[in-house]
């Protein structure tokens, strides 16, 4: 029992349903062990796998530290959780669901701000008029910092937002946001538009292998079996 492969699967919502369906279609039927509301499970007919049901964000953290060998989670969360993504994990397969773009969005009324260069251009005047840097609300703190730095935008302040980020400009707690969107409808409803070069990442659910997990010949065999069934 010491050589069980830990497979981390989203614990709720559409992402859980779609992950279960995808695994089932590949002959990997998830089954909860113990209480139905519990967070542990197995795969029917495949020994040596311990399934753990946790939030998509925790899955990224577990893959990073190696507490999970294998997991299904969004690329956005994987990249947010680690600066050295490609050292720590391998994104082995895009799964075709959980599509979401991580974007920079500003109020639609900012017709003078078309792209990141414009955003940089208004930083100093904004500061002169409002006595502060503009605030960017997001839950993607690391992703935002990296993208803004790469685009040469440095004069801003980050505000961590754990929910309803798209409402923060209207609420006055932030001036623009970095958030996920699938259709852009929620952004438009909140009076926001995406910058021309403001798509940071086109994310979807991925099957991810942890490079930092303690791999043994046993867990490697189990991994290869799962990957083979999923057609990787």
């Amino acid at each position: 029992m010491t050589e069980r492969l830990v497979l981390a699967v989203p614990s709720k919502g559409r992402l859980m349903e779609q992950t279960s369906a995808l695994l089932a279609a590949a002959g990997l039927q998830l089954r909860k062990t113990g209480h139905e509301r519990g967070y542990r499970g197995e795969i029917d007919g495949l020994d040596g796998v311990e399934v753990t049901f946790i939030s998509a964000s925790e899955i990224a953290a577990h893959l990073k530290t190696g507490r999970a060998h294998l997991g299904v989670t969004g690329e956005d969360l994987v990249r947010e959780h680690m600066a050295d993504t490609d050292d720590r994990v391998t994104l082995v397969k895009k799964l075709g669901f959980g599509h979401a773009d991580v974007v920079v969005a500003v109020p639609s009324g900012w017709i003078d701000v078309r792209n990141m260069a414009d955003l940089d251009r208004i930083a100093q005047p904004f500061r002169r008029i409002h006595g502060r840097w503009y605030r960017v609300a997001t839950k993607y703190l690391n992703t935002t910092r990296r993208f803004f730095a790469a685009m040469g935008v440095t004069d801003y302040r980050l505000v961590e937002s754990l929910g309803a980020t798209e409402g923060t400009p209207a609420a006055g707690t932030a001036d623009l946001i970095v958030d996920i969107t699938s259709t852009g409808e929620t952004l438009r409803a909140n009076g926001l538009k995406i910058l021309d070069d403001g798509v940071i990442l086109k994310s979807e659910a991925n099957l991810v292998v942890s490079n930092t997990a303690g791999w043994t010949p046993g867990t490697e065999r189990t991994r290869d079996e799962i990957l083979a069934r999923l057609g990787v």
Binding site: I111, D112, W133, A149, Y156, G191
Partner: protein, 392 residues
Amino acid sequence: MAAETAKKFEALERQAQTLMGVFVAAGHEAVAPSMIQPADVFLDVVGETLRARTYVFTDHNGVELCLRPDLTVPTCRLHLERHPEGNVAAKYCYNGPAFRFQPQGAAGTHPREFRQAGIEAFAAGDRETADAETIATIINAMKAAGLGAFKLKIGDLGLFSALLTAAQMPERWRTLLTHQFWRPDAFRAELKRLVSSQTEALQGIPAELVSSLDPAKPDDAVNTVGRFLEQRGIDLVGARSVSEITASLLDIVANGRAVPLPRQTADVIENYLQVRAPADAATARIEDLLRGTGVDITPALDTFDRRLALLADAGVDLAHTEFSAEFGRSLEYYTGFVFEFAAPGLDPTSPVAGGGRYDSLMHAAGAQSDVAAVGAAIHTERLLAAIEGTQK
């Protein structure tokens, strides 16, 4: 721990006493600013990129604090606590730890915790005299500690500002280039944009606004933009007002209609930034470069020369001091004279001491207006390593 052994710690302490002795003898008051600082001031001054290099944390009340990444901003804050108006002459010195996150992992020359010994002079009467005194005091301190050889490198952001001011261009381009100065790639891209056709500048701006906005009539423009938003049913959310957006649109429209920056002017700027010369030959080199271009920065060069003369009086060997026009670009808060010292045996990316003039920092830290300020800090572990290295 920066000093792993008691022996090294004691050696650093002894060295610090020597350095502080020189600083105090030069008229600097010894102070010990707090190690834990409000993160706000640093983030405001240096920007969000600072977070990547600084230990920022939230206390139990939700207040964002940081471990000081240097002692300059803490010393400014200490001065402002004593003199809220800021503009009071004072000279301080300090010795103590500073903390920086090292993304590649802490290493010998880039530790996450290191001791800085340094000086700051606020609201000194004559800027060039204060600049030269700062260098002289740092040199005296390093020599007193036992450093035999070093190489001084200097720069002057004042020359660059003067060059931009003297070059013919709309003020908004000057602002833009000044803003981008600290990002060499963006700066080059901006220059290139300014010399090429400006029609690109208008892409993505609604055509009806481009045709109807007149930079000469800003009030009319605000109404036009307000009507435009209303007709499109765009609710303006957030802090920026229609007049702010209009002012920015007018800049874009003016850029779209402007005559491009002459290639020659862009060349002058680029050539200037490439100047590297012994300090005593720098002025002649820059004058050669500007001759016949119509760009005249004589007053700034006179200031530069006067500072050099003061440095020579203080015993600085100008022929062996390197001037680099571009130097200072990585440190956004510097506003004028900048310098750093390299020591033999140390990695060239690890200066043993450095500093410069930062006249706008005090304002950013809360003073009512700019306060003349110049300072320098010695990286004491590196100094000790350099001295011990030469003794072996």
